[in-house]
């Protein structure tokens, strides 16, 4: 158990060294690609049909606004756009096409970046001639981690698991009921925007507390020219995400992810 269980895997294309875990704490991983201009419904439908070759279930949804008229006791629903979602039979994998975006989601258990990115690549290859991958204006990558802890809340963030410190004047005491931190950073010369949200949450596992570590990385001012450029940015974002995540946790936490 422990350190020797952590496998080191060389990523040939990026030259980076990353850790993989047997039971990663990732609750959901999301990659979103936004386009500069809206996609026609016909194109969205066409792209979704292509993706149904890979996914068991298709769900068509409407984006709606609701306006309540209290005096007349009526509610007006207005359709403002379509959303087409395809998902695996187990609901853990999905791709969603909106009017100006395509989003890929992976719920737990997270199979690793190699598998997740291969799915994204496969899907994009199948729809790249339908959706405007030549006019991307924003790329987002979000990893929501939930670390289940036996530790309580009274001593602040558990330093044996999390490297992020909660610094408060003594006057606040140690009996913290809830704690959360939200920060935004620009990182790198050609910066990526990083939004970090961390804090305590209820655990679905009885008797435990959870620590959420939510890393949202955005590339907004450096649109990739094509699919190749998109994957170069995704690779860079993923490396940054790994660096931030690994620097945010302790060796004790790493052991927890390799039961």
């Amino acid at each position: 158990m422990g350190g020797e269980c952590i496998r080191f895997m060389a990523i040939a294309e990026s030259g980076s060294i990353t850790k993989t875990y047997g039971a990663p704490p990732i609750v959901e991983a999301v990659v979103e690609v936004r386009f500069s201009s809206p996609v026609a419904r016909k194109k969205m439908d066409q792209a979704t049909k292509r993706l149904t070759h890979f996914y068991a279930v298709r769900t068509d949804m409407k984006n709606r606004t609701v306006q309540f008229n209290v005096a007349a006791k009526v509610a007006d629903f207005t359709d403002v756009g379509d959303i087409f979602k395809v998902s695996s039979a187990q609901e853990s994998e999905s791709a969603t096409i909106g009017e100006n975006s395509i989003t890929f989601s992976q719920l737990a258990p997270y199979p690793g970046w190699d598998v997740f990115s291969a799915r994204i690549y496969r899907d994009i290859e199948s729809v790249k001639k339908i959706l405007p991958f030549g006019s991307i204006n924003r790329v987002g990558m979000r990893y929501i981690n939930r670390i289940d802890l036996a530790a309580g809340l009274k001593q602040g963030f558990p330093s044996d698991f999390i490297q992020i410190k909660l610094g408060l004047p003594k006057a606040y005491g140690k009996n913290i009921v809830h704690a959360a931190i939200g920060c935004q950073f620009d990182i790198g010369d050609d910066p990526l925007r990083v939004i970090l949200n961390t804090g305590f949450a209820d655990s679905p596992i009885p008797g435990l507390k959870s620590m959420v570590l939510d890393l949202d990385i955005i590339a907004e001012n450096r649109p990739p020219a094509d699919v190749k450029g998109l994957f170069a940015i995704l690779s860079e974002m993923r490396d940054l995400k790994n660096e931030l995540f690994e620097s945010s946790i302790t060796e004790t936490a790493r052991k927890r992810f390799n039961p």
Binding site: R58, T59, S92, P204, P206
Partner: protein, 201 residues
């Protein structure tokens, strides 16, 4: 490492998820009335089955919610256990065998069932059925030595113990909460149910 930490570190390792066919009489425990154990069928809402669309959507929505809720603890579950659990839920929601009046699975019951699995840590995989309220019903043991539990949303559950004593069939039932279940079962051989080797059905 504390006991709680150990619980999380050790994946729940139910080797198999079997679909048992409980033979509890409807009169003795009505929540098994609509136990639905049909064959696997792939559901694809894009199929053109207009007479059944509403039912399919209802079942699909409930199943999807159950699977997404399970994903919240999937990192602590044995993967094959999860796959079999999902396969059983799919079977239980086969639109072909669905009866009017049945309720699709309730998300709160899924959470309650999973929570109980982490609390009780049974090694034996229970048989899974659905009550007509859409709650998960699990069965450990077989024939006349059996524990049956219906998981209500949140923490409350209904339990029924069936045992054969000196030629008589004793049935005892009650309502309790998941964290008290081990105390409630203390007069009974609960570990024999929870730790019995699985038998293929």
């Amino acid at each position: 490492m504390s006991a709680l930490q150990t619980q999380v570190s050790d994946k729940i390792n139910f080797p198999r998820l079997y679909l048992q066919k409980p033979d509890i009489t409807k009169r003795s425990f009505e929540f098994l009335e609509n136990a639905n154990q049909s064959a696997v069928k792939t559901y694809n809402p894009t199929e053109n089955r207009p007479d059944n669309v509403i039912l399919q959507e209802r079942l699909f929505t409930a199943l999807a919610e159950a699977k997404v809720l399970t994903s919240q603890v999937a990192m602590h579950l044995n993967r094959s256990w999860r796959d079999r659990f999902f396969a059983n839920l799919d079977r239980l929601h086969d639109p072909e065998d669905w009866e009017d009046g049945d309720e699709a699975i309730v998300g709160g019951s899924v959470l309650a069932f999973l929570r109980a699995m982490f609390l009780w840590l049974p090694k034996t995989t229970p048989g899974i059925a659905l009550s007509n309220r859409g709650n998960i019903v699990s069965v450990w043991g077989r024939d006349l030595e059996r524990l049956t539990v219906e998981f209500y949303p949140e923490v409350e559950l209904a339990w029924l113990v069936t045992r054969q004593i000196e030629g008589f069939v004793e049935r005892t039932s009650g309502l309790t909460i998941d964290s008290a279940m081990m105390r409630v079962l203390s007069p009974y051989p609960q570990r024999a149910w929870f730790d019995a080797p699985n038998e293929k059905i």
